[in-house]
Amino acid sequence: MELLKKNKKVFFNLGLLIAFIWLLVTSYSQSKRKPESVSELLNDFSWLGGKWPKWLDLPLMNWINPAFKALNEKYGYVFEAINNFLLAMLMAVKNFLIQAPWPLVILGVIVLTYFASGRKTGTTIFVGACTFFIGFLHPIFWQKAIETTAIMIIGIFLCVIAGIPLGIAMSRSVRTRNVVLPVLDLMQTIPSFCYLIPGIMLFGLGAVPAIIATFIYAVPPLVRLTDLGIRLVDKEVIEAADAFGASRRQKLLGVQLPLALPNIMQGINQCTMMALAMVVIASMIGTRGLGDEVLLGLQQLNVGRAAEAGIAIVLLAIVLDRITQSYGETLQERQAPAKKEKK
């Protein structure tokens, strides 16, 4: 036991090496294009030159496919439950917004912006105008924009309830961070179609795989910024909280989270922008919204129509960005260092 403890790193590396050898051996034995015998490889070294040898092939595909199939067949009911749940939420939001009279929706956006931006009239008027122009561009865009927004709202909602706690957990433990960071990297770099298409197979065509894809694509910045925000809180302020006897919970809720809020809001802002980008891409798997207008325009070689829809997407992005951004800004102003004239 003592030996194991002392040479933890050596044993860990040894384990990795064994795993690698095991992978080599299994891929070799499962390969259909392997040479007659191993001795052939040792006598003739031509496989070391030129092309990658065909037998040196990790059969990851052969492992994933049956697993995915089994997942789909055996646990299909789980995915169906998730599907129904998300769809019900989505429909509630969507129907509410679509059935509401359009002037009322614009008014709602204006009121929201007004208070989020700390009563800045300029921003409010600008955002109100942008909202108006979405419908003004083409009557059908209004409903499409609402469909897009509804998917985003659900997606961002999922991001927030999963991302912020995860970010908090990361800021508190180095080990959690070391585990989560590579996963976030993976989520950000893997091409979106790699999970859009399997999403269809699990959840069927439509909005739900789009929501899932939105979540995968948009949650990493929120997690990162929550983590960063909490760790960037002034060390002396944390010490002060400790020195006056704050418990971990009091410290988190009373000091760390409020002070990390500008960063967290920035994360939500980033999350929103990425969600919008993903919802537009998701139109290619049949998600309805502004994205399919672009797609339709391009398919008909109707550049004007595609441009109109493109502009509508930009307008929607501006509206969402202004609302989330300005809320973060109002928070940040208070924490900025003292301004000279106020002395």
Binding site: D234, A241, L259, A338
Partner: protein, 341 residues
């Protein structure tokens, strides 16, 4: 029983402090340890006692371990080895919950860069410790207002810290520490970030408050004048070692080593030394000229009567408050006491 007792405390920073501990105990210097093991020695066998109601000033240059030392008292930093006793309780034996209770009721702290909560108003900042103690809103605000008045910040209670100047922010920090009404106050370079005039102001304010409240204050500073002004006792740290502990006069008159001597070299002695310290008793002063005498109180600083003595080229007669003659200071002795070597 001393209020605060620190026994043989070692603090080593690094990946595996315990492994280096023996080496440090055997007398390796800070530089040797850093070179051989990559560990930094923060505190090296520090022991001291602080009595109730006194202001203990811990002084040293940056990197000497003074901020590390003060953080051991409320366990913001845990020692690598050694005991810390507060009112006889070993703080190392406290579990999480009792440590929190201990911090809420026994100690408060003032920070170098104020450590105020930027998202809370002045009154909320001052009331933070009370909030942690579980006091009700009304009680909290009442006490907080009292303390805000005590530090002279009336009218600013609903401002945010970034709307105040540095000096005012530190007053908020001071008020916050006073509000919890703990016996012990830790002040970590509390006035170092302030400009000289405001600093001197704050020192005076602290002295005034202290003369009323009689708290046990542990004050960290790198400024000798500040430590001489505030401290009942001064401890001087060098490279994690406590090199001398004594009253301000001890430190100036009998520096323990070259390091302390270098420290006190530039000090204005006239500001620190009182008449009673350099006077000769009546018996030893039979042969001085008593025709030309200046009367001084035994608690007066040399600075206060020096001009008069120089102008009239006279000797001093030292008296106590009742006017009884306690001793004499000759003109020559006065000059000698002010010379730096």
């Amino acid at each position: 029983m001393s209020k605060i007792e620190i026994n043989n405390v070692y603090k080593i920073f690094g990946n595996n402090p315990k492994s280096v501990l023996q080496m440090v105990k055997d007398g390796a210097t800070k530089d040797e340890v850093l070179e051989k093991t990559g560990h930094t020695v923060g505190l090296d066998n520090v022991s001291l006692k602080i009595e109730e109601g006194e202001t203990f000033v811990c002084m040293g240059l940056s990197g000497s371990g003074k901020s590390t030392l003060i953080r051991h008292l409320n366990r913001l930093i845990d020692p690598t080895d050694g005991d810390i006793l507060i009112e006889g309780t070993n703080v190392m034996s406290l579990n999480t919950q009792s440590l929190i209770d201990f911090r809420r009721h026994k100690m408060s702290m003032v920070f170098q860069r104020f450590g105020l909560f930027p998202h809370k108003t002045v009154i909320q900042n001052v009331g933070y410790g009370l909030e942690m103690q579980g006091k009700s809103d009304t009680e909290r605000n009442k006490i907080a207002m009292e303390k805000i008045e005590a530090v002279g910040l009336n009218g600013f209670e609903n401002q945010y810290p970034n709307q105040l100047s540095g000096g005012m922010q530190q007053r908020v920090g001071l008020a916050r520490a006073l509000a919890t009404n703990t016996d012990i106050m830790l002040m970590d370079e509390a006035f170092s970030a302030l400009d000289p005039l405001i600093r001197s102001d704050m020192q005076k304010q602290l002295l005034d408050l202290q003369s009323e409240l009689k708290k046990t204050i542990v004050f960290i500073t790198h400024d000798l004048d500040e430590s001489l002004r505030l401290g009942d006792h001064i401890g001087i740290l060098n490279a994690g070692k406590l090199v001398q502990v004594g009253t301000p006069v001890d430190i100036i008159m009998n520096p323990a080593d070259d390091y302390v001597e270098a420290f006190v070299k530039d000090v204005n002695r006239a500001k620190v030394i009182k008449a009673k310290i350099i006077m000769k008793s009546i018996n030893d002063s039979n042969n001085i000229d008593k025709n030309n005498l200046v009367k001084v109180n035994e608690d007066q600083f040399i600075e206060e009567f020096l001009p008069q003595v120089v102008c009239t080229n006279s000797n001093c007669e030292v008296v106590d408050k009742q006017g009884n003659i306690k001793g004499y200071i000759t003109n020559k002795e006065l000059q000698k006491s002010l010379s730096k070597s």
